[in-house]
Structures are given as structure tokens and as C-alpha cells.
Amino acid sequence: MAASIIKAIGVIAAAASSKILADEFRAWRPLLTKKLIATAVRRLPNEQRDRYSEEWSSYIEEVPGEIGKIFAAFGLTWAAIKIKLLLQREKRSAGAVETSRKVPVDLLIYALLTEILALDGVDLRQIFYSRFAEDPRDVKLVERIRMWAAAHQMVTTVLRLLCMQVILTCFLLTLAWELRVPAYRRWVYLSWRSVRVRHASVEIL
């Protein structure tokens, strides 16, 4: 008899405490989900925070069940991390596109400048000619002038050839970019390591 009374009291106490616990949980749940959403949103870039804060608050309210809401709020932290990585990749991708367009143009300018310098720059021969004019009988000086002149000629020719190569390559790359040659653009994307662009590929996970 006493045992059954104790058992009954125990059942009533358990029921009452579980009701109290459930009420407590329901009361604290909005605050908890709010905190979880805030934690998730903090992982996103500044410009995305307001959007996702409101969107996810609305999403959580539509998830059925109090425990379901908590689980969904935890999941948002994972979503925020993945979205952040995605946005970072996009930024790097934009950088890759910008760089691929900028580099050939910059190289083209440098090559043209080098070419101009090679043509009209400091001519070593001028220095020796002026000294030669001082003493035309100095045979050693004449030899040195010839040697330097030949070296200068060779360096200038090599430089000019290199410049022409660079100018031609840069011109073709710029042209390919501007004409939107798909193969070149694809190569630019794929050669940029951090960019993950797949063309017509389907993954079965």
C-alpha cells in the first residue's frame, strides 16, 4: 500500500517536474535560438549579416517543434561557415579574373617601354666615342670601343626580340580575353588554384 502511494507520488512529481522543465525550455528556447543565430551570423562577412539574421530568424520560426528549432539553429552555424567560404572563393575568383585581364596589359606596357628604352635609351657607344674623340690614336681604346659596341648591339638585339615576343603574347592574350575566347577564359579560371569552376560536370554524392 505504502509502496503504491510512494509510486503514485513519484509519478505525479515526475509529471509535474517534466511539465515545469518543458515550460522552462519553451520559455528559454527563443533566447537560445536567437543566440545561436547571432553566433552563426557573426561568421559571415559584414555585408551579409543583416540579411541572414532576418532570414534565419524567420526560418527558425517556421521549423516545427521546439527541439527541431534548436537543431536547425545549430545547423545554421555550419551553413554560415560554408557560405563564408563560398563568398571568399567568389572574391578570389573575381580577383583571378581581374588579374588575368590586368597582367597582359601591364606586361604590354612594360615591354613597350623597354623597347623604347632599347631604341632611344642610353647608348654606351656615345660615352666611348666622346673619349675616342679626345685621343683617336689610342689603339687599345679603339678595341674596347669595338668590343663594347658589339656587346651593346647583341644585348639590344636580344632585348628587342624578347620585347617583341612579350608584346605579341600580351597582345594575343588581351585579344583572347576581350573576344571572350572560351578556352582561354576556362584556362584562366582553372589555372587559378583556389577557384573551383566545373564545366558541365555532375557529382553524385
Binding site: R51, E54, S58, Y59, K82, S93, A94, E203, I204, L205
Partner: protein, 105 residues
């Protein structure tokens, strides 16, 4: 952003499937989650990826949050380009697995 092709996974196809079979055409995140059975941690990165690739576009539902008495929903919709690309992806996967995509669960 240009039209770059997003990574297509079975979950992505399920999200796209929710739109292609949807009435109305605009769906909130919760509605998509209900239709696809995906959890928030999987669903939102997919939505972000598809939006980035311009397969989806999103906008706030009309109305003021104070008048609505709750935060506004963000509504997602397939773009014309997205609808075309989704169909192509379905066909590709269907061809690969020799059956409807919906078997991939």
C-alpha cells in the same frame, strides 16, 4: 558575377526539383527545407551557391516586419537561366544513372 556553373550534387538537384514542381514559384527557406527534407546546414549553402551562379534570385516578402508580427521571409525563385540549366542538369544525371533523379535519396 557571370553565369558560372555551380557544383551539382544530389541535394542541389533536390532543391532545384522543389522549384520546378512548385506552386507558387516563390519559396521561402523553410518551405524548401520541408519539400526537400534538407537540414539548414546543407540547404542554405546550396541556396547561396545557386544564387551566386544566378540560377536563383531572392527577394524579401512584401510587408513590414512590425505589421507582420514576425521577421520577413526571404523568397527564392528560379531565374530563366536557372530553369534552363536545371533541366539540362536533370537530363544529364538521368542519363548517367538511367532513371529519374528522385531515386537518388
Amino acid at each position: 558575377m557571370g553565369h558560372q556553373i555551380p557544383r551539382i550534387t544530389t541535394q542541389t538537384l533536390r532543391v532545384l526539383g522543389a522549384f520546378t514542381n512548385s506552386q507558387p514559384e516563390e519559396l521561402s527557406g523553410a518551405e524548401i527545407a520541408k519539400r526537400t527534407g534538407l537540414q539548414s546546414g546543407t540547404l542554405y549553402p546550396i541556396l547561396a551557391r545557386l544564387e551566386q551562379a544566378e540560377w536563383l534570385e531572392s527577394k524579401w516578402e512584401s510587408g513590414d516586419p512590425h505589421e507582420l508580427g514576425r521577421p520577413r521571409r526571404r523568397l527564392y525563385q528560379l531565374t530563366g537561366f536557372g530553369a534552363k540549366s536545371a533541366r539540362a542538369a536533370y537530363m544529364e544525371v538521368t542519363e548517367m544513372i538511367g532513371g529519374p533523379v528522385w531515386q537518388l535519396r
